[in-house]
Amino acid sequence: MAEPGAYARRSFVYRELAACGARFRGAGGAAVAVDFGDPEGERRSLARLGLCDLSPLPRIGFRGPAALDWLRAKRVRGLDRDNRADIQRSGALAVRLAPTEALVLGNPAGRGNLCDRLEAALDENPEPGCYKAMRRDGSFHFLLAGAHAADAMATLCGVDLRPLAFPAGSVAQTSVARISTIVIAVALGEVPAFHLLGDSASASYAWSVLVDAMTEFDGVPVGLDAVRHAIGANAGRSAG
């Protein structure tokens, strides 16, 4: 197991994770919390309610009047409607936030490297009207998953996030616990989940209120291995 301080890139909440007993491993040059000492228990908890920190994983934003066309030219699928997320072949998620803004989240399972590929392509051949947004540095990224995820979110957010009103692929840019947050509904096979992204300066606060909101439903922090297991165990179905 790795010491997060040994890595140049680590989560905004790595101290909170360590305080909960997180065990870290290096992945793509970053220290990632892979479990909290009970991998089997975390896999079971995830089906009910679990919170996973994905902040060290790749993600990137693109802004500007030409951003969407540039992404389509790079074979990014979807991007047809505002506030809509589309799964890519690699398992990455492309999210259209506005007519001039999109967000790409890497596959938590670690397959593919769409974010790095897109960033390198734009660096190599800059496109007028298309600019990078460094989401990996500017935004925290958590995954709240489980059958009670919508129940826990209902205590923090005014938007109806229940599966019938907010199915997988839906996106809400709204206020969660009074901080501006992007909420993206996905499905890890049978397990509903929300990607949550907000200002990295609020990461510690957001983590603490989400952990607090989960206690009512017996939710616990889980490591990346539990999420990867859920995705892997459900591969071939609608893994998000």
Binding site: A98, Q173, S175
Partner: protein
């Protein structure tokens, strides 16, 4: 809870929005007198009835226009600013 319909994000709690004041035409900077410019910056019609206002959805940093009846506080219509102003000049 008062709901405002954001053209980009749909119906949301009014607490997610900030009012940016009346929509007024900006005088031509080079030709306006000091008085006209001061009136543009500081003056408000504060009319009773249907007015056009700038509103801002904070989580998305998105500005749009709302038509609101200041007498009844009823939101009559919301739409993107591009409907009025078109594209930004190059």
């Amino acid at each position: 809870m008062k709901i405002l319909h954001c053209p980009l994000n749909g119906p949301r709690n009014i607490s997610e929005f900030v009012c940016g004041g009346e929509v007024v035409e900006m005088p031509e900077a080079g030709a306006a007198t000091d008085g006209e410019w001061a009136d543009y910056v500081f003056g408000h019609e504060n009319a009773r009835g249907a007015v056009r206002e700038w509103w801002f959805h904070v989580p998305t940093a998105y500005w749009f226009i709302a038509e609101r009846d200041t007498g009844t506080d009823e939101i009559l219509r919301t739409y993107p600013a591009s409907e009025v102003f078109g594209r930004r000049p190059p």
